[in-house]
């Protein structure tokens, strides 16, 4: 498919790297001068902006982590004043405290531009109707995909998540040609449609899907493409980068990371050492043009590899492969990031249950389910079933409100949950991708 922005997307690699160096240099000077948090970090690492003499010198700069955003809650590490911001998004943190991301007008512009390049590389454009079934609201998915799709001239149907039967009716009535959602939600749509007597393949105009916000596999792609009669494209991003931001092209050979916006490194998760192209490691990204909330060498926690050769589509920018896993114990439940530490934190506030827990994740039909097993405390144990059910529901409610995902709670006998066995016993993930 022809590039949205040919001048940039087909820029020779050498020229792209010179552009990246120029942008990095000015980013570092700007941060050193105006961002207290990052200047302090650089001083701790004994690195000065003048030390950045080549693009590879990025490796001299200190890393940033999710914890930095949490510690800087809500906006202490922002580089823009509130009156320069046009939007906030909020995502759940690792321990119950959320993280806030802010955007200037130019940040939204670059986010939309990035997705416009991705969407058009898959052939989405004027004449298409795209159903955005990512959540709209504090989550970046809905609005992110929405702005990118409007940018390429597609007609957006902002259905958000839920009310699946209505989504299928609208898909038929408004001749929807593309959808953006999690891969598991698309499978769910397919199943619900069949129950309604609708074949997505034969009875709708759907021809492509932008699927992301949770890990999926090539097997799942084949299944979705064959069953639903569409092309399924991987889409990637996190709220710290902006939101869903990068996609595959029609070649389906990795996700194009636009080098003028983001500098990709793959590092060894244990040592932080930069790894060569093709090697699996932790994805680390420097956002070269972000204004409100600059991210420098941000350790995302996703494991993948980078491919530097030009794509068969003609685009020159680096690509990343499928996400192979996480460096931490983060779970993705229906597109929402869940950290076991959040569960631990929430349970501490509920005296009726002990602090030990076990998380069991499964996929019922196409949708993820999350079960949290907890032990009833001695003081709270009642002979009355109704009182035990009140405890169960209270824990479900508390977990739901702090994780933003619905949770089933199972009360278990004391002493039966894993104590010291670590992550492998605390989290049981029965999903197969």
């Amino acid at each position: 498919m022809p590039p949205w922005n040919p001048r940039t997307e087909e820029m020779p690699l050498g020229e792209l790297r010179r552009l990246q160096f120029k942008l990095l240099k000015s980013l570092v000077y700007r941060l050193y001068s105006f961002n207290d948090f990052y200047r302090r970090r650089m001083k701790e690492q004994q690195v000065h902006p003048d030390d950045i003499r080549t693009l590879e010198d990025v490796a001299k700069l200190p890393f940033m982590y999710k914890g930095d955003l949490r510690d800087g809650y809500p906006d202490r590490i922002f580089s823009a004043e509130q009156n320069e911001l046009v939007r906030y998004h909020v995502s759940s943190g690792t321990t119950g405290k959320p993280t806030v991301v802010g955007y200037t007008e130019r940040d939204i512009e670059n986010w939309s531009e990035s997705l416009a390049r991705g969407f058009s590389s898959c052939g989405l454009g004027r004449g298409d109707v795209i159903q955005v079934s990512y959540g709209y609201g504090l989550f970046t998915g809905g609005l992110g995909a929405h702005y990118g799709a409007e940018r390429v001239g597609a007609t957006v149907l902002p259905t958000s998540v839920g009310n699946t039967e209505r989504q299928i009716e609208l898909m038929q009535d408004l001749h929807v040609t593309a959808i953006a959602c999690t891969p598991s939600y698309l499978l769910h749509i397919g199943e619900v449609a069949e129950k309604m007597g609708v074949s997505i393949k034969n009875d709708t105009d759907l021809r492509m899907g932008f699927l992301g916000a949770e890990p999926w596999s090539e097997q799942m792609r084949t299944r979705i493409e064959d069953w639903l009669g569409i092309r399924a494209y991987d889409i990637y991003g996190t709220s710290e980068l902006s939101g869903p931001m990068f996609t595959e092209c029609t070649e389906q050979q990795g996700i194009h990371i636009w080098g003028d916006l983001a500098l990709v490194e793959i590092v060894d998760p244990a040592t932080g050492e930069v790894l060569a192209p093709g090697e699996q490691g932790e994805l680390t990204i420097t956002m070269l043009q972000k204004e409100a909330l600059p991210m420098v060498r941000y350790r995302i926690g996703d494991l993948t590899a980078v491919e530097e050769g030009a794509c068969a589509c003609g685009r020159t920018h680096p690509r990343i492969g499928r996400i192979r896993g996480r460096v931490d114990d983060m779970l993705i439940i229906r597109g929402i990031n869940v950290f076991p530490s959040q569960v631990e934190h929430a349970l501490l506030e509920i005296p009726q249950v002990g602090r030990h827990f076990q998380i069991v994740v499964d996929r019922k039909g196409a949708l993820d389910s999350m079960l949290v097993r907890v032990e009833v405390s001695e003081e709270a144990f009642s002979d009355k079933i109704t009182e035990l059910m009140v405890i169960k529901r209270a824990v479900e409610h508390r977990l739901r409100s702090s994780l933003n995902v619905s949770v089933d709670v199972e009360l278990v006998e004391p002493g039966t949950l894993p104590r010291f066995e670590g992550k492998s016993k605390k989290i049981v993930d029965r999903r197969s991708l």
């Binding site: 002979d383 199972e410 004391p414």
Partner: protein, 143 residues
């Protein structure tokens, strides 16, 4: 006076899966504790086993030591005529007095039938039953 009719029931939290009742009953057997009556209340994935035993304090200690969550609950045991109308007599007494039954279970043994009741106002229930000629199990019989 009324207190001597309050029977200590042990209640045990149990997961709803095979072998749990066997574990509880086996522990009581090993401790030489006899079960007069028992019931299981079940909910979503778990249940509560309720039992009247000959030595409730020892049963409580034994099960707690094995890691079970155990509590005592005050119940009363009402002797019933083991013939049509037996339950109706007792239920009417409590109904007339406005006493609510939270749960109940029954056994029919050598000395006739007994209805075990957990009510919201236990001492009031004892007075009402005795006042209308009912007969109650003595706490000491099971303790």
């Amino acid at each position: 006076m009324e207190k001597s009719y309050i029977v200590k029931q042990i209640s045990i939290f149990s997961e709803n899966r095979p072998g749990r009742l066997a574990a509880i009953a086996g522990a009581l057997r090993d401790a030489g504790i006899n079960i007069f009556a028992f019931s299981i209340a079940e909910a979503d994935g778990f249940g509560v086993v309720r039992a009247l035993v000959d030595r409730p304090d020892e049963a409580h200690r034994t099960l707690t030591d094995l890691g079970f969550r155990v509590s005592f609950t005050d119940v009363i045991g009402v002797k019933m005529r083991d013939e049509p109308g037996g339950l109706s007599d007792i239920a009417s007494i409590l109904g007339d007095a406005g006493i609510n039954i939270e749960y109940a279970y029954a056994y029919s043994g050598r000395d006739g039938a007994v209805l075990i009741l957990r009510v919201d106002q236990v001492e009031d229930a004892i007075r009402q039953i005795l006042g209308r000629g009912g007969e109650l199990l003595k706490a000491s019989l099971s303790g």
